[in-house]
């Protein structure tokens, strides 16, 4: 097994297992207790945990610091990095800092526009975009150089990931865009939350037709619905989210008290169905502020216990 990095995620993929990751949002205060507790809840059920980077442009504990807290708990962190708030100097500097703490994975994103967050008056940066950040991470690792061309004595060796949305617009570039991210250096992909299963399978078919599943590890994004209200909200208000009416009807068909459980059942069924889809290399379970349910989903979907790779 030829490994390019120290990443546990890379080892999982390369030893042929389905990987399981989850995601946590850091708190809006300088008290880290919350993120440490969330990490402990899911620690044994996932291979790695993403820490979001000021998600929806709301100011929080920085992703890097939160990753270090997880690392201290023995959890493999995935540093999310958005290009919204930092220029190439700050981004490369944070990559060096993260590597110095033994953080091995980075997920490269552009980030939501600041008009969604708590500082609408902020200046944004967007010196690089998500693909250029991927290129940067790979350039530092492979060439051992900064973007400036200067040598890095001990280059950071990150396993590089990106997001993909099989449902976004324009439809025509859904697969070419994935190809482009792979060309930019993506080694793993976490997809947007999947609800429209047929459309996702169609996308995977096109991905396979171009042989892209052999070049990148695609993790299917799973987010359990907590209520029919949440499903309707996601359909209506979240750009790039495809929530079919059948799913809304199914949630609406059960009693209000039962809806959360029904949402979990749906998530488990989805995972079971997607396990059979060729090219799906793992699952990214994003239970937004509902981390306590992650173990149940993973166990019931037959993804527990997690393999030992170290």
């Amino acid at each position: 097994m030829e490994l390019k990095t120290e990443s546990k995620l890379e080892k999982i993929f390369k030893s042929g297992h389905l990987a399981v990751t989850s995601e946590c949002g850091p708190p809006r205060s300088s008290d880290p207790t919350h993120i440490i507790e969330k990490g402990r809840l899911i620690k044994n059920h996932v291979d790695a945990v993403n820490i979001t980077d000021n998600q929806t442009s709301v100011t929080r504990i920085c992703s890097l610091a939160a990753c270090i807290h997880l690392k201290n708990e023995g959890i493999e962190p995935v540093l999310q990095m958005v290009t919204r708030d930092r220029n190439r100097i700050a981004l490369q500097s944070d990559l060096l800092g993260a590597a110095s703490f033994g953080i091995n994975n980075v997920l490269c994103l552009s980030g939501d526009h600041q008009s969604f967050g708590d500082h609408r008056q902020a200046q944004n940066v967007f010196d690089l975009d998500s693909m250029q950040l991927l290129q940067t991470v790979r350039h530092m690792r492979e060439e051992g150089k900064f973007l400036s061309g200067d040598e890095i004595k001990v280059p950071p060796r990150f396993y590089a990931g990106a997001a993909a949305n099989p449902f976004g617009d324009p439809f025509m570039i859904r697969v070419p865009r994935l190809a482009k991210k792979i060309a930019a250096g993506a080694e793993f992909i976490q997809t947007q939350c999947i609800y429209n299963m047929d459309r996702f399978e169609k996308w995977m078919e096109e991905v396979r037709d171009r042989g892209l599943d052999g070049k990148v590890n695609i993790m299917a994004g799973i987010t359990p619905m907590r209520s029919v209200g949440m499903a309707k909200y996601m359909k209506r208000a979240v750009p790039g989210m495809d929530v079919p009416d059948e799913l809304i009807d199914r949630l609406a068909g059960v009693e209000k008290k039962q809806q959360a459980q029904e949402g979990i059942n749906i998530a488990i069924e989805q995972i079971q169905r997607l396990k059979e889809v060729k090219g799906v290399a793992g699952f990214h379970v994003m239970a937004i502020e509902w981390e306590e349910k992650v173990p149940e989903i993973i166990e019931s979907a037959g993804l527990y216990p997690r393999p030992e790779v170290d």
């Binding site: 998500s130 324009p170 070419p176």
Partner: protein
């Protein structure tokens, strides 16, 4: 209006000075607008019982010396100037009359075009390193909310930008153009990292014609 009032109320004699080219086209800062603004200010002064003389005037362009000739006397004798030009004109007047307070009457918003009478859209940020050749003639620097060079971002929906359903997604426009031109293969070419040193990031810029 309140913002302008706060700037000028301390004076006794203010020239409200229009600029009759770009800002006039936008119906914001022409000589006609200067006349209207001056009379609004006069009314305001009367209501507040302050004695301020507002003289309205204007020239074709507040960004070149020769146009100032005919207003020279007036400006020399003004206690303050309220300029209806863009930020450039305001700075030009301020440099030209070092001892005279010069106030902006407009918030200069962007460099745009006139897509229909009365409708203006930002089209260029003067980034100094034009990418239009690769993006189907649609500028992602000025028209994409995140300036992404390999777009669209995940927020593009139904041709609109994630920031608002009123705003076109620049990358949807780029892809539509590439498709119409039969150049979709260009989409998969990674765009090189942008050299922002030729943008504002490189410090104040200037441009000099050789042999002029």
């Amino acid at each position: 209006m309140e913002e302008i009032w706060e700037m000028v109320r301390q004076h006794k004699n203010v020239t409200v000075f229009g600029c009759n080219t770009c800002v006039a086209v936008c119906h914001q800062g022409g000589n006609k607008e200067a006349e209207i603004l001056a009379s609004l200010l006069r009314m305001k002064a009367t209501r507040e019982e302050l004695e301020i003389q507002f003289v309205d005037s204007g020239i074709e362009r507040q960004c070149e010396h020769e146009f100032f000739e005919k207003a020279e006397g007036l400006l020399q004798n003004s206690e303050a100037v309220l300029s209806l030009a863009c930020g450039i004109g305001v700075q030009f007047v301020a440099t030209k009359y070092p001892k005279t307070p010069v106030y902006p009457a407009l918030n200069t918003t962007f460099l745009g075009d006139v897509i229909a009478p009365g409708v203006f859209t930002e089209k260029c940020q003067g980034c100094g390193d034009c990418v239009l050749g690769a993006t189907g003639g649609v500028c992602p620097i000025s028209r994409c909310a995140k300036r992404v060079l390999n777009g669209p971002c995940g927020g593009s929906a139904n041709g609109k930008c994630e920031i608002s359903r009123e705003v076109d997604c620049a990358w949807q426009l780029i892809i539509d153009r590439l498709d119409a031109m039969g150049k979709m293969e260009n989409y998969e070419k990674l765009s090189s990292l942008k050299d922002w040193s030729r943008d504002r990031a490189g410090g104040p810029r200037s441009f000099k014609l050789e042999d002029f």
